[in-house]
């Protein structure tokens, strides 16, 4: 079979459902291993920060959670956009499957940021461009989820959700560049694609390991959720009725 046809085949729920099921344990295992390594480096290898003492260790989850909140939004908007333009069911289901995990990471980004801001800036929250745009990201996720939940017909819910997801994409570069465009209390990027990182190598390693752990975790959760969504939406189809876990 030619590669294009194989791609189409796996883009249909009856084929993707078992494939996703096989992939989940691998991503869970990767997330656990990367998490253990990241926590080890973060707490036992990375040195104490000269300015912030041990308080800086919040960075190991704050940066990864923030990256994932932005990245998952792009992934969600991508699948929602594909679903909208090509009318592919599975793409829209993927968008819905990513949203709650993205919302959770946006919340964690704000939560760990508040707990970091209090001792370092003296405030849990400031209406700074970076913080405000991240809060808007959380609201975009929640808006997407609430809108889809409010519409009974799944395909209409997919389309309405896709509009929010795509319009909201503009917020992601705003978050990312906010520390450059405006004079923010939030510090500039510690890691950038164009410059050498401005931090100790072991700090960077811990941060990257935790970010990868969150990434693998997100893939695993999205796959578990998309399988549940497939069963819910396709409950009247033969392939669902013939599944071993439904028959037994």
């Amino acid at each position: 079979m030619n590669p294009k046809l194989i791609a189409w085949k796996y883009a249909s729920p009856p084929y993707f459902y078992p494939l996703a099921g096989k992939m989940i344990p691998w991503f869970v295992a990767l997330a656990v291993l990367l998490g253990i390594a990241g926590l080890w480096v973060g707490f036992f290898v990375a040195p104490t920060d000269a300015q912030q003492g041990e308080g800086y260790r919040i960075i190991f989850i704050h940066v990864g959670a923030s990256w994932m909140s932005m990245f998952l939004y792009l992934v969600m908007a991508f699948w929602a956009g594909i679903g909208l333009s090509f009318n592919t069911k599975l793409s829209s289901m993927m968008a819905s499957a990513v949203a709650p995990t993205g919302a959770m990471f946006a919340f964690l980004s704000l939560w760990t940021g508040a707990l970091w801001g209090k001792p370092m800036w003296g405030a849990w929250w400031v209406w700074d461009a970076r913080l405000t745009s991240e809060l808007i990201l959380l609201f975009l996720y929640l808006g997407f989820i609430a809108l889809q939940a409010a519409i009974d017909e799944p395909r209409r819910a997919d389309k309405a959700g896709a509009i929010i997801a795509l319009v909201g994409v503009v917020n992601v570069p705003i978050i990312y560049f906010s520390v450059k465009w405006w004079n923010t209390l939030h510090q500039g990027a510690s890691v950038s694609l164009t410059q050498a990182p401005s931090m100790a190598k072991t700090m960077l390693l811990g941060m990257l390991l935790m970010a990868l752990c969150f990434w693998m975790y997100s893939i695993a959760m999205a796959l578990v959720r998309v399988r549940a969504i497939m069963l819910e939406r396709e409950r009247h189809s033969d392939w669902v009725a013939n599944l071993e876990e439904v028959r037994s």
Binding site: P47, I58, V246
Partner: protein
Amino acid sequence: MNWHSPAEFFAMGGYAFYVWGSFGVTALALLIEPLLLRKRRSEVLKNLKRELSAKERSQ
């Protein structure tokens, strides 16, 4: 090694509340999400089985 005793580790140089508040809530969130998903899946499967057996009985 950064720490000379477990107590020193848990004290986090005076930032215990902030550091453990961050890591604790993150760990909790990453544990609750899979549990909620497991519940969602088992509920879907339960409903599917019920629908299927109802259908088979009516035939």
